[in-house]
Subunit: 247 residues, 2 copies
DNA sequence: TCGAATTTGTGCGTATGTATC
DNA sequence: GGATACATACGCACAAATTCG
C-alpha cells in the first residue's frame, strides 16, 4: 500500500526544509501551486501543508502564504541547585540569571486536593489545601504558569498560610516553609510534554496545540512532602536547563 | 469572530475527555453522529476528531471508531546526582532503580563536529570527534536514543578513545574520562520537546509525529566541556525525573 | 486610497477504498 | 456478506487577510 499523496508531498517538503533547500523564512508553494505540480486537487496540497504545520516545521500566514518557521532563540530557564539556594523561587533566580525582570500575578484559595495532588503530598483526595495559581511574566510576556498546592494541615493558622500575603510574601516556598520549621531538603521535578490546553494557550499567549513542557514539582523535607506544583512552560520560547553536580 | 465550528466541537470533546466524562477507552461519537448533533456536514465532525488525534487525546481505529487514548503508565527515568555518582551511566542507574534490565546497542565512528556540537564543546565546527550512536533498550523496548560526541583532541591515542571497547567499555563517560585525568564535576541538561523525526520514530517504535523529549547534555570538568550528547526520549512512555537537593 | 489578485481558512457534498464488527 | 466507520481524495464556494499595482 503506497503512502497517501498528501503525506508524500509533505515528505518532499519536509526533506527540503531539513536539508536547507527551503531555509527558515522561505515561502512554500501555495496549495494551488502544489496541486498543479503534483496533479492533485488543491485540498490535497492543503492537507500536506497542514501536516507540516502540525509538526511545527511551517507557519501559515493567512492571505500571504506558508513559510518555513524561524526557530526562535530559546531562552534558558535554569533550574539548578546552585541558584536555588540563593534564596527566592527558582523562577526569580532564573530570570535574574538571565538579566530580565521577573514579575508574577497570583490568586490563592482554599481547595480540596485532587487525587493526583493528594498522591504526591502523601494525603487523601479531598483533603484541604491552599491552591495558588501563578502567571509568571518576563519582559511583559507570559513565561510560565504554575498551580501550587500546600496542605492546610501544615499551614493552617500560621503566618505563611497565604503564600503571597503577610511578612513572608514573595519569598518562595523553601524560605516560607522554614518559618514554620519545615526544612525542605530536596525537590523532585518530573518533566513531561504535551500540547497546550485551550486555557493555557490563552494565558501563555501561544497558539492552541503548541507544545508545552510540564513539570510536576514536589518539595520535600526529610520526613514528608510539603508542596506540590504543576508548572507549564511553552517549549517554543524556553528550554529548561538543569545543572547537575557530579561527584 | 466566533471560533470555527470544528474547533468548537473539538473543545467540547476535549473538555469531556479532560473532565473524565469520556474516560480512557471510551468511544467517541462517530463523525456522522457528530454531524447530526451539531447540524453540520460530516466533514466538519471529521476535522474536529482529527484535531484531537493530532493533540494526542484520541486514537482512531479504522472501521471501528475513535476512542479516548489510554495514557499508558509512564515509566520514570530518574536523572539525579545521587544515582549518577554510584557509577555507570545515568541510563543504567535509572533502569536499575526501576528494577528493569537495561541494555544498549551502539556504533562509534570518527566524525567532524557540527556547528551546534562544536559550540557546546568549546571547539570549532569540523574539529575531529568520536561520535557514538546509542539505542537504549529496557524490557526489549527501545527507551532512548543518544548521540554522544567526544573531542578527539582529548581522547586520541588513549585507552578510552573508543567508548564501548577495551578495558573501560560500558563504564559511562564520567568514569572513562577520569581514566585520562578529566574529572567531570558537573553536567548541564537542557530539556526541550518536539515531534519525533521519521527516523527517530522508526528507531523508537512510536508513531511519526509523536512527541519526544530532547536533552542536550554537556559534561564538564572545572576547566572545560568534555562530552556533549543529544538524547531523545518518547514522552508517551517515559517522564524525566530530576531529583534536586535543596540547601 | 482603492481595488484586484492571491493565499489561507473553513465548509459542503460526494465518491471510493478498506478495516472492523 | 452486509452495515458501519474511518481514510483519502475531488471539486467547488466563500470569507478574511495580505499584497501590490
Amino acid at each position: 500500500m503506497p503512502a497517501p499523496t498528501y503525506q508524500r508531498i509533505a515528505d518532499d517538503l519536509r526533506r527540503a526544509i531539513v536539508d536547507g533547500d527551503l531555509p527558515p523564512g522561505a515561502k512554500l508553494p501555495s496549495r494551488h501551486e502544489l496541486a498543479r505540480q503534483y496533479e492533485v486537487s488543491d485540498r490535497v496540497g492543503m492537507e500536506a501543508v497542514r501536516l507540516l504545520i502540525a509538526e511545527g516545521f511551517v507557519e501559515a500566514r493567512s492571505g500571504s502564504g506558508s513559510y518555513v518557521r524561524q526557530r526562535p532563540e530559546m531562552q534558558r530557564l535554569t533550574r539548578s541547585w546552585y541558584t536555588q539556594r540563593k534564596g527566592g523561587s527558582p523562577f526569580r533566580a532564573a530570570m535574574a540569571a538571565a538579566g530580565r525582570p521577573g514579575t508574577w500575578e497570583c490568586s490563592t484559595e482554599r481547595a480540596p486536593m485532587t487525587p493526583a495532588i493528594a498522591d504526591r503530598l502523601g494525603a487523601n483526595a479531598g483533603d484541604p489545601a491552599m491552591r495558588t495559581i501563578y502567571t509568571f511574566m518576563g519582559d511583559g510576556e507570559p513565561v510560565m504558569l504554575s498551580i501550587s498546592w500546600e496542605p492546610l494541615e501544615l499551614t493552617q493558622g500560621t503566618a505563611i498560610m497565604l503564600p503571597e500575603e503577610g511578612p513572608h510574601a514573595g519569598k518562595g516556598v523553601i524560605d516560607r516553609m522554614a518559618v514554620i520549621g519545615q526544612q525542605i531538603t530536596h525537590a523532585e521535578e518530573a518533566v513531561s510534554a504535551r500540547p497546550a490546553l485551550a486555557t493555557e494557550a490563552r494565558r501563555l499567549n501561544i497558539r492552541p496545540g503548541a507544545l508545552v513542557l510540564t513539570i510536576a514539582r514536589t518539595y520535600r523535607t526529610d520526613d514528608r512532602p510539603v508542596e506540590a506544583a504543576d508548572i507549564v512552560i511553552p517549549v517554543e520560547r524556553y528550554s529548561l536547563v538543569y545543572e547537575v553536580p557530579v561527584r
